[in-house]
């Protein structure tokens, strides 16, 4: 029998229009900590979902061997039974239930049809000991910090006799002490023979803990590095992560005409009372007329939160610091004030909070600027059709008619409708959050061309993106964010994929 606990062979997985995984090979030995690394969208999460049965057998090609046996998981329960435990970035705990109820949720200790609560508490206590969490099993989850909640998740996995533990960015939300605790625990579990796959963006952690590290890029396995051979170093990892050359999909801008500052933030901080921490901290940022400012950073680095805090603060963060627009101090209390001040924000999640999916193209385009098609509160529906037609043509929106329901358009066309909606408000500062996520290359090129055209017309663009290629291909200046802070600012000439990644993974 091989020493591999897990072998994934030639895994390919396709979504409509996108190849998410192409012939991925991934092997984990017994009792090792194996890190899975890659940019956002490289296919890490998809691979783990294939493994855990979220995507059932038959929806992908290739084989999964677990403990030497070919496995055909049809649902998550099958992989749990086999001994695979997965802990997602978003914790799946019930905040209003106790620790012991959470540990055995869905896996209740029972006597016949009844739950044996005493036995539950006894077993929960021993699980808590294993993960070195010293709290009473009766504590409510919501009374625990995120770090301790993570340990409860691990205890929950252990209670199911897990042999392979998968952690998706376990330390993303943790402070340093909690992170260190967690990593120590993983080493401890390793010594007890539990193998572990950890997805992480923090390279320092990877270096300190990994026995092996596999790098994924664009849905393909790039390489597997081994600590024993001294291959797991920052430079090697980054080189493999970003390795691809920037393809020539970024249209050139003929001449740059950069003017005065239009937006300026000084010591800008946003505190999220719900999370109990700063999501944006001491940010100094400047955007000039006719400039594309790229904001790079990984997911959860505070980029979207920064955008929201500028755009009328819809999440009601506690704000500190000063914002100047065209040199005048501004305090925007509602998104409608931000729109009036000439800011537009094209959201990251166009289906969730960008578009009205059940409405048609024309009413989506007009939604943020109904003033433009009405007099004294009464709409001119013909004017709306006219405006809709203009944007449909100028943004190359492909649809059978303006009356088409937006929910039925492709991702790229939805993104263009979203863009049209905001362009119709006549913005001076356009914030684009992941403007090309999940859309095909052709539509990407069209969106880049539109961006260039807008810049030529004197608009300023803030482009938030996880795609380094896009950041390097389109920006004039780049800010790199991590943990809510700006970790560095660079002109496009001095920016490389490597030095951005280095700042982003600090």
């Amino acid at each position: 029998m091989s020493s591999y606990i897990l072998e994934m062979k030639d895994i390919s997985k396709e979504f409509p229009g996108v190849k998410a995984l192409t012939n991925v090979n991934f092997k984990v030995e017994k009792g090792e900590i194996h890190c899975l690394i890659g940019e956002n969208g490289a296919g890490k999460s998809t691979l783990m979902k294939v493994l855990s049965g979220v995507y059932p057998h038959g929806t992908y090609s290739g084989d999964i061997l677990f403990e030497g046996q070919v496995q055909k998981f049809n649902e998550i329960n099958d992989s749990v039974k086999a001994g695979i435990g997965i802990i997602y970035q978003e914790l799946a705990l019930f905040p209003d239930l106790t620790v012991y109820e959470n540990i055995f949720a869905g896996n209740e200790v029972s006597k016949g049809p009844l739950v044996d609560w005493n036995q539950t508490i006894v077993q929960a206590t021993s699980m808590l000991k294993k993960v070195k969490l010293h709290v009473a099993p009766e504590t409510l989850i919501k009374d625990l910090g995120v770090g301790k909640q993570q340990l409860v998740e691990i205890a929950k996995a252990l209670s199911k006799d897990v042999k392979l533990l998968i952690l998706d960015e376990p330390t993303a939300a943790l402070n340093e002490d909690d992170s260190e605790n967690l990593l120590d625990l993983l080493k401890e579990l390793k010594s007890q023979g539990i193998s572990c796959i950890m997805i992480s963006h923090k390279l320092k952690e990877v270096i300190s803990i990994a026995d092996k590290a596999t790098v994924l890029r664009d849905g393909k396995t790039i390489c597997t590095l081994e600590a024993e051979k001294g291959e797991i170093t920052e430079s090697v990892i980054i080189k493999n992560m970003v390795g691809r050359d920037i393809e020539d999909i970024y249209p050139k801008r003929p001449d740059k005409n950069i003017g005065d500052a239009v937006l300026k933030l000084d010591n800008w901080s946003a505190y999220d009372a719900q999370l109990g921490r700063h999501v944006v901290e001491n940010v100094n940022l400047e955007v000039k007329k006719g400039e594309i400012v790229g904001i790079a950073g990984l997911m959860g680095s505070g980029r979207t939160e920064l955008a929201l805090s500028i755009f009328g603060n819809p999440k009601k963060y506690k704000l500190q610091g000063n914002m100047h627009i065209h040199g005048a101090p501004k305090a925007l209390k509602h998104t409608s004030e931000a729109i009036k001040a000439g800011i537009a924000y094209v959201t990251e999640d166009r289906k969730g909070d960008g578009l009205f999916l059940l409405q048609d193209i024309k009413s989506n385009v007009s939604a943020a600027h109904l003033k433009g098609i009405s007099t004294k509160g009464v709409l001119n529906l013909n004017e709306e059709v006219k405006v809709g037609t203009e944007y449909k043509n100028s943004l190359y929106i492909k649809a059978s008619s303006l009356e088409q329901i937006v929910g039925k358009l492709s991702g790229g066309n939805q993104q263009k409708v979203s863009l049209g909606k905001w362009l119709f408000t006549g913005p001076k500062i356009l914030i684009l959050d992941e403007p090309t996520r999940g859309i095909d290359v052709g539509a990407k090129f069209e969106i880049y061309s539109i961006m260039n055209q807008l810049i030529n017309e004197g608009m300023s663009i803030i482009m938030i993106s996880s795609e380094l290629g896009e950041i390097l291909g389109m920006s004039d200046r780049i800010y790199v964010m991590a943990e809510g802070k700006v970790k560095g600012e660079m002109a496009i000439e001095e920016a490389t994929q490597e030095n951005i990644m280095e700042l982003a993974t600090q």
Partner: protein, 391 residues
């Protein structure tokens, strides 16, 4: 394009909207045949519409409440309570009708706004907040009618709202002249608005349906208005209840389809987060929708009290559920953002037709409930199926 294929395409594209109208026509025809024409008699149709009035105005408000993903359970007893207050104003306090009605409507708005504050500002689920309101106003109704029991209203002007008809001027061949004139005026107004709409579209250079289709559509709608007018003119003409109902529908139809406010309401219902990010004040919209609901509840109370010529201790019982049923039969979706005011009225008329028709046939009350329940279920099933097809 061929006339028939164009007509077919139009029907296919709008099947969801036309579905209710077709259902209503089928129901009416069925009852007409089963009652040997009695159902379609002037007297019956007139009674039917009058009996639908107080639920129909509630259904209009309820549709908007459901469109923004909420519910209002308090409207029944708010209507009952405010109807009783109106009766007290008129009988015990001697307030004139023309003062009483606006004051009662303002009371309704205040009640609605209070619900709105609980829901939008404090964040109480609308089901719970308005359930509390339902209990409170039920108690309040009992409280104000406790001493007197049923309050008889003797004010003829007020009672005319629920029982009276617009004056006839003179009878022509036994037909109500003013009603005929109103009907004709309505048709002329309709044709004029269609024509100017079409002219506007042509001016903008947009595609318009072919002339033949356009004329057919105008002819059908005019014929329906004309037929209803003719039927009603054969009895006592338009009742004040019908006039009020039509006025409410026209006002709310205009509000929801032609104004910025209407758009904002549907945007909030369709996707509250996106609405907020589009600069729409979601809280304010919630206040307005609940305020309007409160006003229509007050109107419903006035209509009902006037119809009975008295305020009773149980007025308003189950109005809210009848209104909700009418709104759902009319095609509103609990997922938010979808539903028309005209649909709500048709829904209310469908439900009233079922009651009226089954009463004429002598169907027992037990079966009536079961049949109305089945129709509600069928309407929603149809709605869900056609939506799946489109998605």
């Amino acid at each position: 394009m061929n006339y028939l294929t164009e007509a077919k395409q139009l029907v296919k594209a709008n099947i969801r909207d036309y579905g209710m109208y077709i259902a209503l026509i089928v129901i009416m025809l069925t009852f007409t045949i089963m009652t040997n024409g009695l159902f379609m008699s002037s007297r019956n149709i007139s009674n039917l519409l009058d009996s639908a009035g107080y639920i129909a105005v509630l259904a209009v408000g309820m549709t908007l409440v459901i469109v923004i993903r909420h519910i209002d359970l308090s409207v029944g007893f708010v209507a009952g309570f405010l109807g009783a207050i109106a009766a007290i104003f008129l009988t015990q306090l001697g307030v004139p009708v023309l003062v009483t009605i606006p004051v009662i409507l303002v009371f309704g708005i205040i009640v609605g706004l209070f619900n709105g504050v609980l829901i939008a500002k404090i964040g109480i689920p609308s089901f719970v907040a308005t359930l509390a309101g339902m209990l409170i106003f039920r108690g309040a109704l009992l409280q104000v009618t406790e001493k007197t029991g049923t309050i008889i209203v003797n004010d003829d002007q007020f009672n005319a709202i629920g029982n009276g008809f617009i004056p006839s001027i003179m009878q022509v061949n036994g037909l109500h002249l003013l009603s005929l004139l109103v009907g004709i005026f309505g048709i002329v107004l309709y044709i004029y608005s269609e024509l100017s709409n079409r002219k506007d579209k042509v001016k903008y250079g947009f595609d318009v349906p072919s002339k033949a289709i356009f004329i057919t559509k105008m002819a059908i709608v005019s014929a329906i208005i004309g037929y209803v007018t003719w039927i009603l003119a054969g009895y006592n003409g338009f009742s004040w209840t019908v006039v009020i109902m039509v006025a409410v529908v026209i006002l709310y139809h205009f509000l929801t389809t032609k104004t910025v406010l209407g758009r904002h309401i549907y945007a909030v219902g369709s996707n509250p987060e996106a609405a907020h990010l589009s600069g729409i004040n979601v809280e304010k919209i919630t206040y307005i929708v609940f305020g309007s609901m409160g006003m229509l509840a007050a109107l419903s109370g006035i209509l009902f009290t006037a119809r009975l010529q008295s305020a009773t201790t149980t007025a308003g019982t189950l109005f809210e559920l009848d209104a909700i049923a009418a709104a759902y039969v009319g095609g509103v979706s609990s997922a938010g953002g979808v539903g028309k005011v005209t649909g709500a009225i048709i829904g209310a008329v469908v439900m009233a037709s079922l009651s009226s028709g089954m009463n004429l046939l002598g169907v027992g009350i037990s079966y009536q409930y079961m049949i109305r329940g089945s129709v509600l279920a069928l309407a929603v099933i149809f709605d869900v199926m056609t939506r799946k097809q489109r998605a």
